[in-house]
């Protein structure tokens, strides 16, 4: 899978979605705190691995990897890694 870097959506600073409902920011912050407190998963048990996480981050069509989709909602470590991958993609696209 290749990303169209000329149309990269990764800006590196978009830590919240641009089109939030009123109050959604607070809900997302609460989710962030909850998942880091209750599903930190520092041991990375059951994590699908960087390649699969990156595939989801890059995807511009339907993601068929249901395991990774389900897992990311319950693993702070994977969410953090996906965010980092997004930043790296943004950085790479901005330097080209």
């Amino acid at each position: 899978m290749t990303a169209d870097k000329s149309k990269s959506r990764f800006t590196g600073e978009d830590y919240f979605p641009p089109d939030m409902d009123p109050g959604e920011l607070e809900l997302l912050v609460a989710f962030d705190i909850w998942i880091h407190e209750t599903h930190a998963n520092l041991e990375r048990k059951g994590c699908p691995g960087r390649d699969r996480l990156e595939a989801v981050v890059r995807a511009k069509t339907k993601v068929e990897d249901e395991y990774t989709l389900q897992h990311m909602g319950l693993c702070a470590a994977c969410l953090d890694e996906m965010r980092e991958i997004g930043r790296e993609l943004a950085k790479a696209s901005s330097t080209e």
Partner: protein
């Protein structure tokens, strides 16, 4: 120490938290700005302001760490809003733990503590209820939520799930709204993924 107006107690406005992690300037400034209001809320809920400094110091450290983790740019515009929200929710939590809800104010003052009811998201008691939400929203709704947390806008969420933007948005809103209503007394249907109350 922060200097506070009139009879407000003092909280420790410091450069680093207990772990030696620098505390962001924007969060410290936000704390200065909302401190009188927060003291008023604490007094209304607990009867006095003795615990206000500790609550504020913890909230400042927490929000600062959060914004640092996400590399929020300096003087992040929502710093005050996040701090205010976190402080209020921690106050509720604290009062619950202590069994100390001793309202001395008027009903209107208590109402001011409640999130505005003009939209569905703000009606959540966030810190306490995320876990409950997770147990009841659909798997699909939770995946959308995680994608939103990653910063994906609705067009991006919809393309990753292979559905229309409007479908994704409506599904998410209805899923969370209905779940919230069910959690707070409206209880009814079984969810498509089998989850329910």
């Amino acid at each position: 120490m922060a200097t506070n107006r009139e009879y407000s107690p003092l909280w420790w406005d410091r450069d680093v938290d207990d772990d030696g992690v620098p505390i962001r300037e924007d969060v410290r400034q936000a704390a200065q700005d909302i401190w009188p209001t927060c003291c008023s809320h604490v007094k209304t809920m607990l009867g006095d302001t003795a615990d206000a400094p500790e609550l504020m110091e913890a909230a400042v450290a927490h929000v600062s760490r959060y914004l640092t983790r996400y590399r929020a740019k300096p003087f992040y515009p929502q710093a005050k809003s996040l701090l205010n929200l976190h402080f209020t929710q921690e106050l509720r939590r604290f009062a619950g733990r202590q069994g100390r809800v001793q309202a001395v104010g008027h009903i209107a003052e208590l109402d001011a503590l409640a999130p505005p009811s003009w939209d569905w998201a703000r009606s959540c008691d966030f810190w306490l209820d995320i876990g409950k939400l997770h147990s009841q929203v659909t798997d699909r709704g939770w995946i959308m939520f995680a994608m939103r947390h990653l910063g994906h806008g609705w067009p991006e969420v919809s393309e990753k799930l292979g559905i229309a933007v409007s479908t994704a948005l409506n599904y998410f809103r209805n899923d969370f709204k209905e779940t919230w209503a069910r959690l707070h007394g409206g209880g009814k249907s079984v969810k498509p993924n089998g989850k329910r109350d």
